[in-house]
Subunit: 160 residues, 2 copies
């Protein structure tokens, strides 16, 4: 419906990277807000634990960017519960890896089509937005878990 060409700019690569990393800083705080003994055990409505959701985020994040850069799609989907400190350490390693790999994505690549992990076809920028949205979606669920546990979650608008 818009007549704007697909090549016109709304969000730069750097702005998208910073947007995502802002979300990831908040998600890290949500993980950290969970009591150690509830991270991989507490659930509502028969859903997964927040720890399991956080592992899904981790499995999708850096491996997605790696695949976009290299077309080598490898992810370890079968992850088991681990201590919070170990999860946070992996989170921080992924943060650094995303930054390093991001700088290697050619500008034109964001508009290309690929099949992430051999099963999810889409434009590169949509695949990245999907990973971000999936994180925001499940983190919102983590907020409900924390509230139900009587823990005040970190403010949603705080991303630094």
């Amino acid at each position: 419906m818009s007549t704007t060409p697909e090549t016109a700019a709304v969000i730069s690569p750097e702005a998208l990277r910073e947007h995502w990393q802002g979300h990831r800083r908040l998600t890290r705080r949500v993980i950290d807000a969970f009591p150690e003994d509830q991270l991989f055990t507490f659930t509502l409505g028969g859903m997964r634990s927040f720890g399991t959701m956080a592992l899904e985020m981790l499995v999708m994040a850096a491996p997605m960017v790696r695949g976009i850069v290299s077309e080598e799609w490898a992810a370890s989907w079968d992850r088991q519960a681990l201590p919070k400190a170990d999860l946070l350490r992996e989170w921080d390693e992924a943060t650094a890896e995303i930054d390093t790999l991001w700088a290697q994505i050619p500008l034109a690549r964001f508009q290309e089509t690929t099949t992430a992990f051999g099963q999810f076809p889409g434009k590169v920028h949509d695949l990245l937005l999907y990973v971000i949205d999936n994180e925001v979606h499940h983190r919102g669920q983590g907020y409900v878990y924390l509230r139900a546990l009587g823990v005040e979650p970190p403010p949603f608008y705080e991303r630094t």
Copy 2:
């Protein structure tokens, strides 16, 4: 950290509009999935009802785009519970209004800084992403409510 200039394209205006409207179609299905008598009453963890969260989305969505286009910032923050059919009708009206207004946003406008509703300063593209993220965040919470109510939520990846 990236050397890509802020003017480089990752996501076009049309792609961002379609991305958002895809989310809005999913959120509409989540609203519709709630039993009428639970939409504004069911809560977990002392949080707001999903109906109240959906009203917040509605109050932010079209008024945000209107403000971006006109710098006239008006939102009716004090909204009361209403029948699901009325909420869905307002949702559809907002969908059409967003499409109409979106076409009036000049390309350069997305990089400008403004103060949304007189209180939220930011770049236009970040303000739009905030509204989208806020919707995804609260919709994720709606998924927990639905699961706790024994209702299967619509699939997250389905946006058509």
